[in-house]
Symmetry: C2
Subunit: 407 residues, 2 copies
């Protein structure tokens, strides 16, 4: 019995959802925006009121530590992220942090005994919407990115992470990185796909996560007048770019576990009667097989080459981010399966298609994840939804897994 | 002898080119922007100093009238536009206004006698970049658009033409429209295409102008996560839109005199790992044959229908503007050919691919145009260029045509 209080949990969820809530009941809480600052203040206050020790590191990751009975034991880390996509949903990220908070509250209320310290964590900039890449806070924590590199990243307006942290008051004192060996890391997240819902199950114990590559391409053509410029003499950057976008979509046809997406595309100069001179766009390609991710990145380049040869345009291609596929630790998966069974929750195991902070944590500890269903598989938009009974099933499984890991 | 002064003309051209000049020697002078306001002030001052009567109408068109010997004779209108594309060139539009100004100065200096009044005009918002549609000032003058309709048009920020005119101080007192019968209209413009340069000629007497349609399409899909969303369940607005852009490019393959362009395209929400939910883009389709323009507009819709059926998306299509092909008046063409011959200028006749204020003027008077060459046919960008000797040949032909028309 871990003592989750569904009513308290729901109240907390609504309080947090009000911070950055959109007109359509979604969440617009980009990293270190005004809404993200407010939700961080809410979390710090809530952590202090449950009597845990709060620590903020130099890139704004927030930790709250509840001591266990053995002061020398390696801690269990639990948490997720409070930042959101632009016009994203209320469950992505936030639900994982709030399950961790409710776990601390329940353990406090019911004096649940645990040997290891339990640390809640909120990672900075998981989404990668304001600052690229995603998983920035956890990636820096495990040493995948250096602190200097992370602080120097800029948003679309040229503001650096360092400037944003300082003006928000979240450039903490603590060094970014593990201070001691970590026993394990547990994160709950919405599935963001259709599988749990299709199978009518409440919880997934996640086996691993797809690898992925994020690419950015720029095509340079020649701007000219849409009227008197003969078709045969044009070098239209948008004609070349749209050719590539079609090619990227077709890439997935040749594989059974691949997804490919172009999410951003901008056109210069962007006037109705001017042939576009420059188009910049992104590609996001994923597979559970790292060799296929590498192959997809190469095929994006082949598409660019072919389209630019046809249109007489030039291109540049940059890989913004690559992350290998992740396999989660058997120890955490086993604890999670036992917890689900003990909680009487219907569950399955599965592989996830989205990157999570847990991916990077596997580099320093035994990491694992739980998913709860996403209605219609929808996420990264305001319609994101999870039935409350599934949320509660997930929270119970989460608290019980935490209890088991912290013995 | 019309007395054009090439040195004075060149100085004037440089003075005007400094107003809104870009770092790369282009022009960024959107309608009623700060730069457009300054250039209007320059023109009004220059008109006053040549002793003509200045009049500004209710949508900001600027007129300067030099009386002829017969006060009852219908006037000859000469001019073009001073607004530019974003990062456009220094010749498009401006050169026509400055040829008209130099003509007034030369006639004043040399007491060139003319029976008819000559009126210089600078039309508001020819380009259609800040406010759609293009040819707004001349279109309203001839009654193609009502004054109310024009004043209510908005830019991308929602500012109306009325607000922009009032804050600029260019909402004039004069009623917009002809006050009296107009004898003829003459406009000089850069060709914006490659034909004069290819033939090594300095001037074109323009027979007519292509018809065109401006369309705006919006495709609605469903935003979702780029990772866990299976390819087969996606409704990706950008996949559908890029399919249509490719189709619009291919449309021109089936005709020998057609041009098709997509100049603007925006993606929502525009995040690297989010499937696009909404894409808006424009299409600009042109032909000298009005029936073909109508056919092209229908084919754009067919492309949308097919692409949206494939991707499961929805679309809306709006025609923003349609203008039929124009044939210029024989009287003006004849005067222009005679003037070119008298000036010893090598010239040809041709059809133009870009809309000009002269198109709309054909609805109220005998209208005609002169072109001077565009190096490499380039225009609507900072590299736009015309050799100075061609500019002078054009200015001489222009002044002499004006003289002939005003007898
Ligand atoms: N879960 C999630 O949305 N993470 C962001 C990185 C990704 O796009 O997979
Ligand atoms: N000449 C010119 O650029 N006019 C604007 C309307 C058009 O695109 O043809």
């Amino acid at each position: 019995m871990t003592g989750i209080d569904p009513d308290r949990f729901r109240d907390t969820f609504e309080t947090y959802s009000d911070i950055g809530r959109t007109d359509n009941d979604g969440l617009h809480r980009l990293t270190l925006s005004e809404a993200d600052i407010r939700v961080r203040e809410q979390l710090v206050g809530d952590l202090e009121s449950v009597g845990v020790d709060v620590r903020i590191d130099e890139i704004g990751n927030i930790f709250g530590r509840r001591e266990g009975t053995d002061p020398d034991a390696a801690p269990v880390l639990i948490g997720s992220h409070l930042d959101s996509q632009p016009y994203g949903g209320r469950f992505d990220g936030q639900l994982g942090v709030l399950c961790a908070l409710e776990t601390l509250r329940a353990f406090d209320e019911h004096d649940v005994e645990h040997r290891r310290p339990i640390e809640l964590v909120n990672w900075t900039n998981e989404e990668g919407s304001r600052f690229k890449p995603a998983l920035m806070g956890s990636g820096t924590f495990v040493g995948e990115f250096s602190v200097e590199e992370t602080l120097a990243r800029t948003d679309a307006d040229g503001t650096t992470v360092k400037e944003a942290l300082e003006s928000a008051g979240y450039r903490g004192d603590a060094e970014c990185g593990p201070r001691e060996p970590i026993h394990s890391y547990l994160e709950l997240h919405v599935e963001q796909g259709p599988i749990l819902e299709e199978h009518g199950q409440s919880v997934a114990v996640v086996d691993g996560i797809y690898g992925m590559s994020w690419l950015e391409a720029t095509i340079e053509g020649t701007s000219d007048h849409a009227g008197p410029s003969p078709m045969h003499s044009r070098r239209d950057a948008l004609v070349a770019a749209t050719d590539v976008v079609q090619g990227i979509r077709r890439l997935s046809n040749r594989y059974d576990d691949v997804v490919t997406t172009v999410g951003e595309l901008t056109v210069e100069p962007g006037s109705i009667n001017v042939i576009p001179s420059e188009v910049t766009f992104t590609a996001d390609v994923r597979s559970y097989d790292d060799a296929i991710v590498a192959e997809l990145a190469e095929r994006v380049e082949s598409e660019l080459e072919a389209a630019c040869a046809r249109e007489g345009t030039e291109y540049e291609l940059e890989e913004l981010w690559r992350i290998e596929h992740t396999e989660f630790a058997k120890s955490v998966r086993t604890a999670a399966c036992e917890a689900a069974e003990e909680s009487g929750v219907s569950y399955r195991s599965m592989v996830g298609g989205a990157g999570h902070d847990a991916n990077y944590l596997t580099e320093v500890t035994d990491a694992g994840m739980l998913f709860v269903p996403s209605v219609d598989g929808r996420t990264h938009n305001e319609d994101e939804f999870t039935e409350w009974e599934d949320v509660v099933a997930g929270a119970n499984t989460f608290a019980e897994t935490t209890r088991r890991l912290s013995q």
